[in-house]
């Protein structure tokens, strides 16, 4: 919070916010290993100093270099390995069973375009940083939520402004975020107006899809025409999840929005933390969150949807008319049921109404469903008559000497990690790569 305690007056008003922020940070403990370390230390320090200092925000200030500890030899190796171990443990703790997740997601990105966004406490300005991270967010989001759609709404000059229509094409969304001059911040934001606009654009959506609003909020005020709590109630009723990433301080109303709708709330402490809390919203939310938000009786409907997987015609095929625009084209996709030709997927076939999706789109999300079992660190080489000489995946030769640094839990002193199913040994790098990228064990082939 240190960068922002420039105005003691308003900090006084909101002085309870920092406590809840710390609580929140702690609550989100499943974040990246790195941010977790920081958070933990922050909390410890906060506790220690709270006795001597009246203002918690002063206590919460930690120097970033304090979070890393050198060992006796002055090397950072130990600290780095500790971070790695944390990462591994985090994975071990994660449930191996399939989690239900909402995969067809609809998200409205609410961008604060008020004058407060021109503040320079984040470099270069809050506004530029927000745009940059928003673009990265969109790319990553579509990568993990291939069937999702994103719309963009801006808050400026007291009204909500539709910047981009709901779209499943990342390029469309990126395009509307790319014109910086069109989004120039001005005036006061209005949360109510903007949320109402976002809510109306999602009201028609089917029940099986999730509806979410992500607000990036830099202002400390909102100027609303009516009672914003009515809007909040409407959102709860419509099962809209609202998540807020605040760039300034916490406001009661933004926390309420998130708490009541089952979303996440976070205050960005610095540029890196901003990105971290933004990107935590990328993976599909686990289903329980929706259930909690819906309360009793809100059993979200799960339908089996019939979908067709088309055949793509090459660019060199003889041109023919497409069913959707009646254009002469050679490339296109053939509906597997009625053999009509459509221009793009995913879409509904204009002839037979079948939902046509490209199966790779679906498959992109399967790694959420079938995660690879975490590998066990080999801690003892006893009873191994013929240890594998090299990593089963990348053929890197295992070292025979014991690494002394890796004494912490979850790390193998031999650098060997073993699949519980196929009992092959993998090196640390492949372990991370297999679990984070490939999602498929090279030994078992599943």
């Amino acid at each position: 919070m240190a960068p922002r305690n420039r105005d003691d007056n308003f900090m006084d008003v909101d002085s309870d916010s920092d406590i809840s922020l710390l609580g929140d940070v702690e609550h989100r403990g499943k974040g990246k290993g790195k941010s977790k370390t920081t958070d933990k230390r922050k909390k410890d320090k906060g506790k220690a100093k709270a006795k001597e200092q009246a203002y918690t925000w002063e206590a919460s200030y930690t120097r970033s270099w304090d979070t890393v500890q050198e060992d006796e030899a002055g090397s950072l190796q130990g600290a780095v390995e500790d971070l790695m171990a944390r990462g591994r443990r985090r994975r071990l703790l994660a449930p191996a069973a399939a989690i239900r997740r909402t995969i067809i997601r609809h998200l409205v990105l609410l961008l604060d375009l008020s004058a407060a966004m021109m503040d320079r406490d984040m470099r270069p300005t809050r506004f530029d940083l927000m745009l940059q991270y928003a673009r990265e967010f969109v790319v990553e989001w579509f990568d993990q939520n291939p069937l999702g759609q994103i719309g963009v709404v801006g808050m400026r000059a007291g009204i909500g402004e539709r910047i981009g229509e709901m779209s499943g094409n990342p390029q469309d969304v990126l395009k509307c975020l790319s014109e910086r001059t069109r989004l120039e911040p001005t005036g006061e934001p209005s949360l109510q107006n903007a949320i109402e606009m976002a809510r109306s654009s999602m009201s028609h959506l089917p029940t099986h899809s999730s509806r979410e609003i992500l607000i990036i909020f830099g202002s400390l005020t909102t100027c609303d025409p009516g009672n914003i709590h009515d809007t909040l109630d409407a959102c709860v009723k419509n099962k809209i999840r609202i998540s807020v990433v605040a760039l300034a301080a916490e406001m009661k109303i933004s926390r309420d929005l998130c708490d009541k709708t089952g979303g996440q709330f976070g205050v960005a402490m610095n540029e890196g933390h901003f990105k971290d809390i933004l990107f935590e919203l990328v993976p599909p939310p686990a289903q329980r969150a929706v259930a909690r938000a819906g309360g009793p009786g809100a059993n979200p409907a799960a339908d089996l949807m019939m979908m067709g997987f088309p055949t793509r015609l090459p660019d060199s095929s003889p041109p023919s008319l497409c069913a959707c625009h009646s254009d002469m084209k050679s490339e296109g996709f053939l509906c597997p049921r009625c053999m009509a030709k459509v221009c793009d997927v995913p879409t509904d076939c204009d002839i037979c109404g079948l939902m046509i999706v490209s199966s790779p789109h679906l498959a992109r999300s399967y790694h959420h469903l079938f995660p690879v079992k975490p590998y066990e660190a080999v801690t003892s080489m006893e009873g191994e008559s013929m240890p594998q000489a090299a990593c089963h995946a990348c053929a890197r030769i295992f070292s025979t000497s014991v690494s002394t640094a890796a004494t912490s839990e979850g790390m193998s002193p031999w650098g060997r990690y073993r699949c519980p199913d196929c009992h092959n040994d993998f090196c640390a790098e492949c372990d991370v790569f297999v679990h984070d990228v490939i999602h498929c064990c090279p030994g078992c082939g599943k």
């Binding site: 799960a302 793509r312 597997p336 090279p442």
Partner: protein, 303 residues
Amino acid sequence: MEKASHLSVIVDLSPTQWHLSAQTSNQYPLSIETFLSQLLAFLNAHIASKHENSLVVFGALPGKSVLLYSSTELLSDDVPSLDANSYLPFKLVDSTVVQRIMNEFDAIGELEEEPSCALVGAVTKALCYINRITHPSSTTAGVAEDPSIVHDPRILILSVSPDLSSSYIPIMNAIFSAQKLKVTIDVCKVYGPDTVFLQQAAHLTNGSYIYLERRDALLQYLIMSFLSPTSIRKILAVPKQDKIDFRAACFCHKNIVDIGFVCSVCLSIFCQPLPVCSTCSFLSIHSNDSMLLAPFSLLQTHA
């Protein structure tokens, strides 16, 4: 200056399929011996193109996948003796690959039932290997500018087995990680019917999928389509596949389907409507049954 390129070759070594392929009833019979000799010429051509080019060969055998050759590690201790008429790196590739394949084949023995080929294992291993050489770990001595970091890594799959529908999800996962690593996957279908999954692999990673029609001209196919790195493919065209089949395998019976039922929660694909999604055990709502089944019956009459 042009960069060294990396090629990972994955050879499908299913004994059954190769036996079928060699049968004289085929229009162009191709035995594994001729195949290997032409493959080795292709591998040598890759090494010949540039001193720094790196090469890894994986074999997909029934039930397991093995590393056959790697240009960064010496796999066998006995370096072949030099002779004045051949270039040592070529000889090294040839002898290592042949010897290892022979060892593996000998080890297979007479099995009642041949397990399916571990193609996925080989692909994921190739990806791990590429990950290793493209992102050298921070612990190695060369810190920043290491020219041995390859650019433009490629995987070439020489497939003879048909699609293995049980490996649908892993193979798709492998394709997406290849996309992330910017690895091009090329596929040469040497024998057997077109495989849907490998077509998708080539399409999604911007590689080329080629069905070998004239199997007596294997080497020419290999050289013309798969030797050039991606930068050259922008100048000298490489054939692409004509049609891409986006069919998927269902989770319940591992059938390859073109119309399926997709769970709206977890996106699992089923070939027939189920009351409970077997993946996420989500109850599908009964009120919608009638709506669901209508198109299904339509489908039946259609078929």
